[in-house]
């Protein structure tokens, strides 16, 4: 799942963020609210959910080793508790089996789609600056300025790139094979070689294939023609 490469475009995962100075050392997350911060941060963005939202943030930060500080500011996201979940992530990582963020208070704080090594990298590369519930843009800007002044330089390892959200297409390829012999193609009449029976070939629309096939089949009934949905 993870790859290391040099020729990629940063940040790799789209989202509700803006890049200001990609050489900067500060990533600024303002949780559920956009805050206009006048400072030389590298990237600023919102993060509302304690699972996929955090995952995307992890992917976008570990792919830039220049980022060394992770400022979490803005109002805590009700229920999701995204801010405190990030705090918990830094403090204890995730349970390797359940992938639950240790001690997180959020509703569904599971990081399932990033490898453990990426989470370890996130926690090693970045220092958490906890400003949860601070909404004053000037205070945040001042902190960002201070952090930039004590920038320790790039992380010792190269960028870590993840193929996040891109599922291999091989599973999705649909190949339908039958051993039937077409007898009268105009009427869809085929010979089933397994049972040596003539029958009308049915075309179906496949909705899902795993763990079972769900198909939509045009079917003529007494009153008309209906699309019949069934599980095979």
């Amino acid at each position: 799942m993870s790859t290391r490469a040099t020729r990629r475009e940063w940040p790799p995962v789209p989202g509700d963020f803006e890049v200001r100075n990609s050489a900067g050392s500060v990533a600024l997350c303002t949780l559920g609210k956009k805050i206009d911060v006048d400072a030389e941060y590298a990237i600023i963005g919102t993060c509302k959910t304690e699972n996929i939202g955090i995952e995307r943030m992890v992917v976008n930060t570990i792919s830039n080793p220049k980022l060394r500080f992770f400022v979490v500011a803005g109002p805590e996201v009700p229920g999701h508790k995204t801010g405190s979940s990030i705090r918990s992530l830094f403090a204890g990582g995730v349970d390797p089996k359940t992938r639950r963020i240790a001690e997180a208070e959020g509703a569904i704080p599971y990081l399932e789609n990033v490898p453990l090594e990426a989470i370890d990298r996130f926690r090693s590369q970045l220092e958490l600056i906890d400003m949860i519930d601070v909404v004053d843009a000037a205070s945040i800007a001042e902190t960002v300025g201070e952090l930039e002044r004590r920038n320790p330089g790039p992380f010792s390892e190269e960028a870590m790139w993840l193929d996040y959200g891109r599922r291999a297409a091989t599973k999705a390829r649909l190949v339908t094979q039958t051993g039937d012999i077409s007898v009268i193609p105009e009427y869809g009449l085929v010979l089933d070689l397994n049972f040596l029976l003539l029958h009308t070939q049915q075309s179906v629309v496949v909705v899902a294939t795993h763990p079972s096939r769900t198909v939509v089949e045009p079917r003529a009934v007494e009153t008309g023609t209906v699309l019949f949905v069934r599980e095979e």
């Binding site: 996929i52 599922r167 079972s212 209906v226």
Partner: protein, 311 residues
């Protein structure tokens, strides 16, 4: 449009019939009130809000429901227990519609459910939601309170495909004996509403739509989702919104059609203030579905269906 081989259950919750095949019963629409960012709320911790504005919003949804024939529900979101109790008392007085009790904190949801029981409207309360993060304490409380209806959320943080969503509903998860549907059944939730769990575009939104059809095929239970959350969190659209708000609203409102065309029985359409735009769109699609079902399959739409009210 289409029919399912499997029997489709229709539940009656607070007088509202929900479930069935497209065109048979009208799509039930739930608007959310008191959500984070709702302008009617002045103090989300204490539950202070503009009562006149909230009353207008609830009544406007009721009017849209009466106009189109699409039944409505009110989804009440609260951050704290005091807020939840205040909101529920108000909404229960204002409307006879079913009420979804929603909070991301289990303790707040459970407090709301207990309040519904004590105040005599548990029969129209829908617990939102039973999901993969339920703790044993939460399950114990649900077993005690015994709501008959709950949203069963097919959110699988590990796998957003249809198979992953099915796994959450069907297979033992996180040390529990059964999937969420079996758990719901054990708790006495006889009217489960399956929420296919809308995930962000690029993170499984497509499967969340397809899963509507699959879930109805496999389980036969009323199914729907809060599909509007997908366009609402779409970064490209959010940027476009700054210069083209109409485009954003068009995507937000019309997103319900995606799951409706897959057979959804209910749509959590987002802010209740959007009711006057959502109801006509969904009613329109219901008319198409009903006409197809009647002409091709001989099933007459329900009496108050948009097909009868609006044609």
């Amino acid at each position: 449009m289409f029919v399912f081989e499997r029997e489709q259950y229709i539940h009656t919750i607070g007088g509202v019939r929900i479930g069935g095949v497209p065109g048979e019963t009208p799509t039930v629409l739930a608007g959310t009130i008191f959500y984070s960012g709702d302008k009617t709320v002045t103090d989300s911790k204490r539950g202070a809000f503009d009562k006149k504005a909230a009353e207008d919003l609830i009544h406007r949804q009721d009017e849209q429901s009466a106009l189109t024939g699409n039944p409505c529900m009110v989804q009440v979101f609260a951050e704290s227990t005091p807020a939840m109790l205040g909101y529920l008392g108000f909404v229960a007085d204002m409307s006879s519609a079913p009420i979804l009790i929603d909070s991301t904190e289990a303790a707040v949801r459970l407090a709301g459910l207990r309040y519904a029981e004590e105040s005599g409207f548990l029969d129209r309360a829908i617990y939102n939601s039973l999901n993969i993060s339920a703790t044993q304490d939460e399950l114990n409380m649900l077993a005690e309170l015994r709501p008959t209806s709950a949203i069963v959320l097919a959110f699988n943080p590990r796998d957003s495909t249809i198979a992953g969503r099915r796994a959450v509903l069907e297979q033992p998860q996180l040390g529990r004996a059964g999937g969420l549907l079996a758990t719901a059944n054990e708790l006495g939730i006889s009217k489960p509403l399956i929420d296919t769990a809308t995930t962000a575009m690029g993170a499984g939104a497509g499967s969340s739509v397809s899963f509507v059809m699959v879930a109805k095929t496999v389980y036969g239970q009323p199914t729907g989702s809060g599909i509007h959350n997908a366009p609402a969190s779409w970064a490209w659209l959010r940027k476009l919104k700054k210069t083209n708000r109409a485009a954003y609203e068009a995507c937000d409102i019309s997103s319900g059609l995606l799951i409706q065309s897959m057979g959804a029985n209910f749509i959590l359409y987002g802010p209740i203030a959007n009711s006057d735009r959502v109801f006509p769109v969904i009613a329109m699609a219901d008319v198409f579905a009903a006409e197809s079902l009647r002409d091709e399959f001989g099933v007459e739409p329900a009496e108050n269906h948009p097909f009868h009210k609006l044609l």
